[in-house]
């Protein structure tokens, strides 16, 4: 098992243990993992971690890190890391929550070709739509996003814009209101 996978499992386990209802709660803390697949070959399959809060379960503000394995063709290997702030509005629809969302952050493109490697970091915005499905004490959140990233300065041009589908598995932990 890779270190990333072990980290994801550990976070998921801790979150599971923390998941207990509180009486005066008004929001939720989400801890979980994300698996994703981007249609541009630069992205490909990936996985990562998410953490976020939903004050009043009306809005969602979270952080996302994911590592997209990309594709290797003609000895050119592409990898992308996502560092994003996720913003969403939670709209209850029966047992589900529909969440129009926007991720903002940075993509770190990495390319290795002919023994040379190069990195490029670009800002990106990704409007999307997610649905939160409660399943027992966890929630599954499938999401479709359109990644709009700047053009990375790498050795070989890559497709950096496109659709990315993901599935989050989060443990919602009820929290009281924020005070500081």
């Amino acid at each position: 098992m890779s270190p990333a996978a072990r980290l994801c499992l550990a976070v998921g386990g801790v979150a599971w243990l923390l998941a207990s209802p509180v009486a005066g709660q008004i929001g939720e803390l989400h801890l979980g993992v994300v698996a994703s697949y981007g249609t541009p070959e630069t992205y490909g399959p990936g996985a990562g971690l998410v953490v976020g809060v939903a004050p009043g379960r009306l809005v969602y503000v979270g952080l996302r890190w994911s590592y997209q394995a990309g594709a290797t063709k003609l000895q050119v290997r592409n990898r992308v890391q996502t560092f994003a702030v996720d913003l969403g509005v939670q709209i209850p629809a029966g047992a589900l929550e529909v969440v129009p969302s926007m991720s903002l952050g940075a993509l770190r493109f990495a390319q290795r070709a002919a023994g040379a490697s190069m990195h490029s970091t670009e800002f990106f915005a990704a409007p999307g739509l997610a649905v939160e499905i409660p399943v027992a004490r966890v929630a599954l959140i499938p999401e479709i996003q359109v990644y709009l990233a700047g053009s990375p300065a790498v050795l070989r041009p890559v497709t950096h814009r496109g659709v990315l589908a993901s599935m989050r598995l989060v443990v919602p932990i009820e929290i009281s209101r924020f005070r500081w």
Partner: protein, 996 residues
């Protein structure tokens, strides 16, 4: 002119609060001016200084700029939605002179805006993003100053950062408290914990701990559970209530309190090795805990707290108890440590209870430590005992010798006009709504009538000035929120300068302007023809004259960008103080410390304006004369000071006078022609706006949690959303109190936005759960819990429709007939009124709105004694005549005042046999505060707590109102009158619950 310019630049406009002489300004009669807050300025000028970097050139350059400009809010500025501003700036960029102008659109709620910046040096327009924050309450550097960032994203991210300051606004940064919290505790010392030498103590302490937690849950049960959806939330409430039920099967509330006290005595007895000494120690410890811990902490109910712990209070209590133990000879030296260990353990238990409550309610503002920890039931079952506890909890004294008259809303208007007319020295109208325009955007005739009342009274007094030599001062305190919302500036401008104001008002027709023009002309003519006034004008100047002949308008709680709370840093994710309003509604005149019987006040739940008149608005007022008015007068002074007025600038009529000695007061009372009617006992409880003290909350909580078994509490309210007050009343039922809660149905709610209705529905749903699950426990204690909805239809036949409804419902509602043994004797009479005028009155235009905030509380002996009185038929007969006389403006009857007096006389007869009844106590509360979190946390409120015969007039009114409401026994009935809403709306309502 130069002085005026300088004063304006530093923020002290002529005629402002700052222009009076510092110590002893001359009286208006000697050429002095009366200071007032005036009306808010429309254009907010500001000046700023900033420095930064210009990054768009080949090399970066230092930028230094001074900017000045003005901002204007096109919408209600309180909403903080939009502001438009224009600025010019001068400075330097590198070694070149720099300048330009910009237009900015800001969203004040976000403390940010966007704009276009034309720079002379570049000769082009650039995009500007601007943000500001006060950093700390009152301003970055005080006086409303802001830390400001200007960012040019398209100029290579050039920026300036600096400070901006308001100009010409002396109140900026001064009109709210700098602290948005109260410091509970800063213990000066942390002594080492006491150690128990006796191992037997721990068992008693453990029992105390468990018992204390149950007392908390039973006295103030938490009913506001949330969940992912409504179903889960309701299930959680049910689970919570079920646990209470299971506990009550084994031990009632009374038994639990008894157990706590017994165990406390046992613990001290073990520590002192003597049962009688243990009892004495327990008694003394409870007294000290009440004085030093429970009452001081509960006195902060509804306030934001810092250092929220009982440690410091407990330490003071421990010191006092330790001193007493050391001084007494009952406890041997060897036992002192054990005794102190017990006391310390009890304070630790109270701290644990506080923590649990804060966590459960998710809000430290709602922590109430039950006084049952310290008090035996016998210590709060008499009127005098309850009065004293209220006084100790609120720090407000009851005063005797007040005359109190309870009146229906229609009388408020006539009483207000009469007060203005009869003012000799000064008059204050302290109101939250004085609309210029009604909902159709036409001039509000009722408000215009009050304006006319002011002008006519002023004219009459000016006409008599040459012979009398005195002029009254009129003051209006009006909160900015509704002032903006209802375009009150139109009328306030006339009142503020009647010698220059034009009678041509916007949206006015000739019917409106003709009387106004006539009143203004009469006043100006009177001024012109007053030889004395003209002579004084010659000496003191025109400005003095305009200051003398005016209504001193004070618009309070003004928009101020420098007061935020709850933010990560100041305004960032915070909420502004601007959302907090002054909800008090009082009119008073002439009372002073040296003659508290001179003058009168009317305290009400309504505003000025036509919407508050007539059968469509169910509201009540209280006319007060006597020493209680001094508490209102004091509150008026505190209001002006809290708004930024210096104490030295307070208007002379409102300054603290010399209180009269007791014998002088007796003489003043005896000199009154109706001295016998000054027999009311009352306390005026004033909640300051925003983060100021909230004694009214404390008084309510104290009475709800202490009224003994057998008591009756009736609480109607237009905004019944407070889960906290609801929880306390559930606790009262569990102790054996009969509680009637009445809220308006959707169609009858004056404020029927979905957040308010969602929260009301949530509370009522949970009260239904309580009724269902705890019915046996409540019945076993002798209590009852009833929730009713004021769901009255349009009065098809005027007041007779209500009488008919009362007779029909009381006849068929067993609970009401059981509660009111006198009801059968009233039924034929009320039914007759319902039939008698069945076709006489025309249909009212709309469903009546419940707005009366009148509560009645009585102990069991009191209730039993008065309900057995033979006076009820006459009481009801006069009441029906009074209501008919005050039902609608068309019916306005000069007999109403006489009928109100008759009601008081009958109430006196009703009370007579009760006076000698042991443990008979009663209270009525009338005021502006709703049963909602906003009223508890945010708004300025006032309530009069009164006892005696006058408190029975509200009772007959409540008997009539309660008889007309629809009692809710199941969820379906509730859903029909307050329909359920979507989950999204439920969540929005919950997150906004503190503000609704």
């Amino acid at each position: 002119m130069l002085l005026v310019t300088v004063a304006w630049t530093v923020g002290l406009p002529p005629g402002s609060t700052q222009d009076a002489n510092a110590q002893s300004p001359p009286a208006p009669s000697a050429g002095g001016r009366t200071a007032s807050l005036g009306q808010p300025i429309r254009w907010h000028w500001q000046i700023g200084f900033g420095t930064g970097a210009y990054l768009a050139g080949p090399s970066s350059s230092l930028m230094v700029r001074t900017a000045g400009g003005a901002y204007f809010a096109p919408l209600n500025p309180i909403t903080k939605v939009a502001e438009i501003g224009f600025e010019a700036y001068l400075g330097a960029r590198g070694n070149q002179a720099d300048g330009g102008a910009r237009a900015v659109f800001q969203v004040p709620y976000l403390s940010a805006g966007i704009g276009a910046d034309y720079n002379l040096l570049d000769n082009r327009v650039a995009m500007l993003v601007t943000a500001h924050t006060p950093v700390r309450r009152g301003g970055f550097l005080g006086r409303g100053t802001m830390l400001r960032l200007d960012w040019y994203p398209l100029l290579g991210h050039s920026f300036t950062i600096g400070v901006s300051a308001p100009l010409g606004d002396p109140l900026a940064g001064r009109n709210r408290p700098i602290r948005d919290y109260v410091v509970v505790d800063r213990p000066l010392n942390t002594p080492p914990a006491h150690r128990a030498g006796n191992p037997g103590l721990q068992a008693a302490i453990d029992t105390l701990r468990i018992s204390a937690e149950w007392i908390r849950r039973l006295v103030a049960p938490f009913l506001d559970q949330d969940g992912r959806n409504e179903r889960i939330a309701v299930t959680r409430t049910t689970n919570y209530v079920t646990k209470l039920r299971d506990h009550l099967v084994t031990r009632s509330v009374a038994d639990e309190v008894r157990l706590f006290h017994t165990e406390l005595e046992r613990a001290f007895a073990v520590a002192a090795d003597d049962a009688s000494i243990g009892r004495a120690l327990a008694l003394r410890s409870r007294g000290i805990l009440l004085d030093e811990v429970l009452l001081p902490y509960d006195g902060l109910l509804g306030r934001k707290k810092h250092h929220d712990t009982l440690r410091g209070l407990s330490l003071a209590a421990q010191g006092r108890f330790g001193r007493w133990v050391a001084e007494s000879t009952a406890t041997s030296m060897g036992q002192v440590e054990d005794v102190m260990f017990v006391f310390e353990a009890v304070t630790d238990i109270l701290e644990a209870v506080r923590k649990h409550a804060a966590r459960e309610w998710d809000d430290p503002r709602l922590v109430w430590l039950p006084l049952q920890y310290a008090l035996d039931p016998e210590q709060y079952d008499e009127q005098a005992e309850l009065d004293t506890l209220v006084e100790r909890g609120t720090h407000v004294r009851f005063t005797d010798h007040n005359r109190l008259t309870y009146v229906a809303n229609l009388q408020f208007m006539s009483e207000l006009l009469r007060m203005i007319r009869e003012t000799r020295d000064y008059h204050v109208l302290w109101i939250h709504d004085f609309p210029a325009l009604d909902s159709t955007q036409s001039l509000d005739w009722a408000s215009l009538k009050v304006v006319d009342g002011y002008l006519t009274a002023l004219a009459a007094r000016v006409e008599a000035y040459d012979s009398l030599g005195t002029l009254p001062s009129y003051f209006i305190f009006l909160d900015q929120h509704y002032y903006e919302e209802r375009k009150s500036r139109i009328l306030m401008t006339v009142l503020e300068d009647p010698l220059r104001a034009s009678p041509r008002l916007p949206r006015a027709d000739v019917r409106d302007t003709a009387p106004l023009a006539s009143a203004l002309a009469r006043l100006r003519s009177a001024v012109l023809h007053s030889r004395v006034l003209q002579a004084e004008r010659r000496e003191y100047g025109d400005a003095w004259l305009h200051n003398r002949i005016k209504v001193h308008v004070n618009i309070t709680n003004r928009v101020d960008a420098s007061f935020w709370s709850g933010g990560v840093i100041s305004s960032v994710f915070g909420y502004p103080d601007d959302v907090m309003r002054d909800h008090r509604k009082i009119s008073f005149r002439d009372v002073s410390e040296n003659d508290p019987f001179d003058g009168v006040a009317i305290l009400t739940g309504m505003g000025v304006g036509k919407q508050y008149l007539g059968p469509g608005w169910d509201d009540r007022s209280l006319i007060i004369a006597g020493p209680a008015l001094l508490q209102i007068r004091q509150a008026a002074r505190e209001l002006l000071i809290s708004q930024g007025m210096a104490e030295a600038d307070l208007p002379i009529p409102l300054r603290m006078g010399q209180p009269s000695a007791g014998d002088v007061l007796q003489a003043q009372l005896a000199a009154l022609p109706d001295a016998a009617r000054y027999d009311g006992r009352a306390a005026v409880l004033v909640n300051g706006t925003g983060y100021l003290p909230k004694p009214l909350n404390v008084a309510k909580a104290l009475l709800y949690t202490l009224l003994p078994p057998g008591s009756v509490i009736k609480v109607p309210d237009s905004l019944w959303n407070s889960e906290f007050y609801g929880g306390l009343l559930v606790g009262a039922c569990l102790r054996g109190v009969t509680v009637l809660i009445v809220a308006p149905a959707g169609d009858n709610a004056p404020s029927s936005g979905f957040p308010q209705m969602v929260r009301a529905r949530e509370l009522l749903t949970r009260l239904l759960i309580v009724r269902r699950e705890l019915a046996p426990a409540i019945a076993a204690a002798g209590g009852d819990l009833r929730t009713g909805l004021y769901a009255l239809p349009v009065d098809e036949h005027g007041f007779s429709s209500r009488a008919e409804r009362w007779a029909r419902q009381v006849d068929t509602t067993a609970m009401l007939r059981a509660l009111w043994p006198f009801a059968p004797s009233l039924l034929p009479m009320v039914a007759d009124v319902g039939r008698h005028t069945l076709d006489a009155d025309p249909p009212a235009g709309r469903s009546p709105k419940l707005h009366q905030k009148v509560q009645f509380l009585a102990t069991g002996p009191f209730w039993r004694a008065i309900t057995a009185s033979p006076e009820w038929p006459e009481f009801m007969a006069v009441y029906l005549r009074y209501r008919a006389a005050t039902y609608s403006p068309q019916d306005a009857d000069t007999a109403a005042a006489g009928l109100a007096d008759s009601l008081e006389e009958i109430a006196g007869r009703l009370l007579a046999p009760v006076r000698d009844t042991p443990r008979a106590a009663s209270f009525a509360v009338l005021g502006s505060q709703n049963q909602d979190p906003r009223g508890m946390f945010m708004d300025g409120e006032v309530g009069v707590l009164f006892t005696g015969a006058q408190s029975l007039v509200p009772l007959i009114d409540l008997v009539f109102m309660v008889g007309t409401v629809t009692w809710i026994d199941d969820q379906a009935a509730l859903d029909r009158l307050i329909p359920p809403v979507s989950e999204l709306q439920r969540r929005i309502a919950r997150i906004a619950k503190d503000g609704v």
